[in-house]
Symmetry: C2
C-alpha cells in the first residue's frame, strides 16, 4: 500500500482539527514534512472521491467535504489506491499441462474465491471504522492548538 494512504488519513484529521479548511497543499505538507507535490496528488484523488473540496483562489486550498463521522478508512483507501485488491488471480489453473487437460472452467477459481473472502473481511473492517473514531483517540485542546499553529 502506497504511503499516500497514511498521508491522506493524517491530512484529513488535520483539516478537521482546524475546523475544516480550506488550507493549501503546501501548508498541509509542511505540517508533517511531506512532499507538497505528492501530497497535492493525493488531495486531488480525495477531491475526486468527494472527501475534500478544492477551493480555488489565493485563500483557497482543500477543505473537508463532509464530517469525519461520514468518512471511513475504506473511503480513504479506495480514494487513494483505487483497486484495493490484495491478491491478484492470474488464472494459472488454465495454463500448462493441467490447463490443457482440463475442460474450460465454469466458475470462479476456488483459490481466488478463498483469498477474496479474506479480503472481504479486511474491507469490512476498514468500512467499520470512521475517522471520527480515530480522532476520538487523539483529540484534546492542546492537540488542536498544535495543529492550528502548524497550519497557520
Amino acid at each position: 500500500m502506497a504511503k499516500g494512504v497514511e498521508w491522506a488519513l493524517h491530512t484529513l484529521l488535520n483539516l478537521d482539527m482546524i475546523g475544516g479548511g480550506p488550507v493549501g497543499s503546501g501548508q498541509l505538507a509542511e505540517a508533517h514534512g511531506l512532499s507538497a507535490s505528492y501530497l497535492n496528488k493525493q488531495l486531488q484523488q480525495l477531491a475526486r472521491a468527494g472527501l475534500v473540496v478544492s477551493v480555488p483562489g489565493p485563500r483557497g486550498g482543500f477543505r473537508l467535504a463532509r464530517p469525519l463521522e461520514d468518512i471511513t478508512l475504506l473511503d480513504v483507501v479506495e480514494a487513494i489506491e483505487g483497486s484495493t485488491k490484495i491478491f491478484h488471480c492470474t488464472e494459472i489453473r488454465c495454463g500448462g499441462r493441467i490447463g490443457a487437460l482440463s475442460p474450460p472452467p465454469t466458475g470462479a477459481c476456488a483459490v481466488n474465491a478463498a483469498m477474496r473472502r479474506a479480503e472481504q473481511a479486511w474491507y469490512q473492517a476498514l468500512a467499520a471504522q470512521t475517522l471520527a473514531e480515530i480522532r476520538a483517540e487523539v483529540d484534546s485542546p492542546s492537540v488542536r492548538q498544535i495543529v492550528r499553529s502548524a497550519l497557520e
Copy 2:
C-alpha cells in the same frame, strides 16, 4: 502481493491431489506453465516454513509436510510473503511542524492502530480457511486424474 502466493496455493493442492509427492519443481511448474526457477524459490520458502519437505535424490522433489487440513491460507501467505503488513506507518506524526510542536509520542499512532485492526481481520480470515476447504470445492475423481496425468 506477489504471484508466488497463487503459485504456492495451487502447487500445494496439486501435491495433495497426487497423494503428497515428492515431485520435482520442474514438473510442478509445467503443471501450470510457470517458471520452474521462480516456483523452486517459492517451494524453498514453503520448506523453510514447514509446509513441504525437500526430498533429495534422483526421485526426489517436494512433498507435503502435513495434511491440507493443517495448512491455512495464512500459513502460505506468511511463508511466501514474510511480513504480511498491508499498511506501513512511517510515523509522519513526528515530522514537520506538527512533529516539532508536539511532545514525543507515548503510544502507538491512532491511524496506524486503526489500520492494524483492519489487517487483523484479514489475518483472521486467512487463518480461518484451510487448504482442505478449498480442495473440497474442486475435488473429484476426474480432477485428481488430470493432476496425476499432468505431474507424471
